[in-house]
Symmetry: C2
Subunit: 172 residues, 2 copies
DNA sequence: CTATTGCAGATAAAAAATATCCACGATAAA
DNA sequence: TTTATCGTGGATATTTTTTATCTGCAATAG
């Protein structure tokens, strides 16, 4: 069981974006630089976050990304599913059917008990992820983070965020 | 997030082995045939199950595998960890340190809040897996499984299980 | 018009999962 | 004692997934 590295990157990105002001945006290149990530690859992940309705993107100069929703209505589950996909970790391959004895399909109408147990665990996992909101992450960071780290990331946002024209679809 | 196919195979194998009688064993080749799996590869997984103390192996003719513990003291978590490894799915790469601004290590003594939240979810996942015992899986199968499937797998075990000499370290 | 940015697709490189094979030691049975 | 069966470990190949890069295109602020 493994989560791709993109998940960590995505969470850090949305956390950073949660502190850009108003409808301002931050370019993907800045986010990549902020975490020492490959810009080209990070864009893929930012894209998935946009496709999932977590981020909004603005093209053109002074464009970039911003949150599409308030930070307290984005959960870790949202981000993880956006990056890793919505499929469950355990996929029942119904290997019980692949043995030498061939029974007809009607023998397998009942769902596999193993699958049920694995999915139950995954529901618990997702429920726990859904409990943590982006705003919680940010609040913890602001409360317990080291002051130097805090002011450094604050300065970084200040330096790279770009204000948008008032017309830009703004919500939150 | 993805679980390897080996997990499904491993669970089915231990479930099958839980119905061999006494200290009898079943060869890995039979287990592979039973689920239409590659024998050579399945052996790797069976090996990990042995290394984790879930299975016992007996070499020589009429050798094979059997459970090393009672079916009610083996959980799905045991099997999943044996196959997938004990590392958590989310590994904090501390990418917050990789930005252009270099702070010294003392700024990062506090554990990363993101990591904490992800690990909390994983604890929930593992706790749910630990709640399901192998004996539960088997009981559900015996209670709700299709009679044809039930008797087929019963016959399969009967045909392939091999009794051992009384000296063979037997427990349960 | 121009420079900057996101987007989509092709592609490549690296890593991991899956699968096979062989030489070896153990051992039950003939 | 011999032989055939089995698990073990290592080496290796194959396939799939992940990670990474590049290019051309559309949008748009200045």
């Amino acid at each position: 069981m493994k989560l791709g590295e993109g998940v960590e990157a995505a969470i850090h990105c949305v956390a950073t974006l949660s502190s850009v002001e108003g409808n301002s945006t931050m370019p993907g290149a800045a986010l990549a630089e902020s975490f020492g990530l490959s810009p080209s690859y990070l864009l893929k992940h930012l894209n998935m976050l946009s496709a999932s309705g977590i981020l909004e993107s603005v093209p053109g100069p002074s464009g970039g990304y911003r949150l599409a929703k308030a930070a307290d209505s984005i959960t870790l589950l949202d981000v993880v599913l956006a990056i890793e996909g919505r499929q469950p970790a355990f996929r029942c391959g119904e290997i019980r059917r692949n043995g030498p004895v061939k029974l007809d399909g009607s023998a397998y109408i009942k769902p596999c008990g193993i699958n049920a147990a694995m999915l139950k665990a995954e529901r618990a996992y997702r429920a726990a992820l859904a409990e943590t909101k982006l705003s919680d992450i940010v609040a913890t960071f602001n409360r317990e983070g080291d002051p130097r780290s805090l002011s450094a990331s604050c300065a970084f946002v200040e330096r790279h965020q770009r204000p948008q024209k008032p017309g830009s679809t703004k919500q939150i």
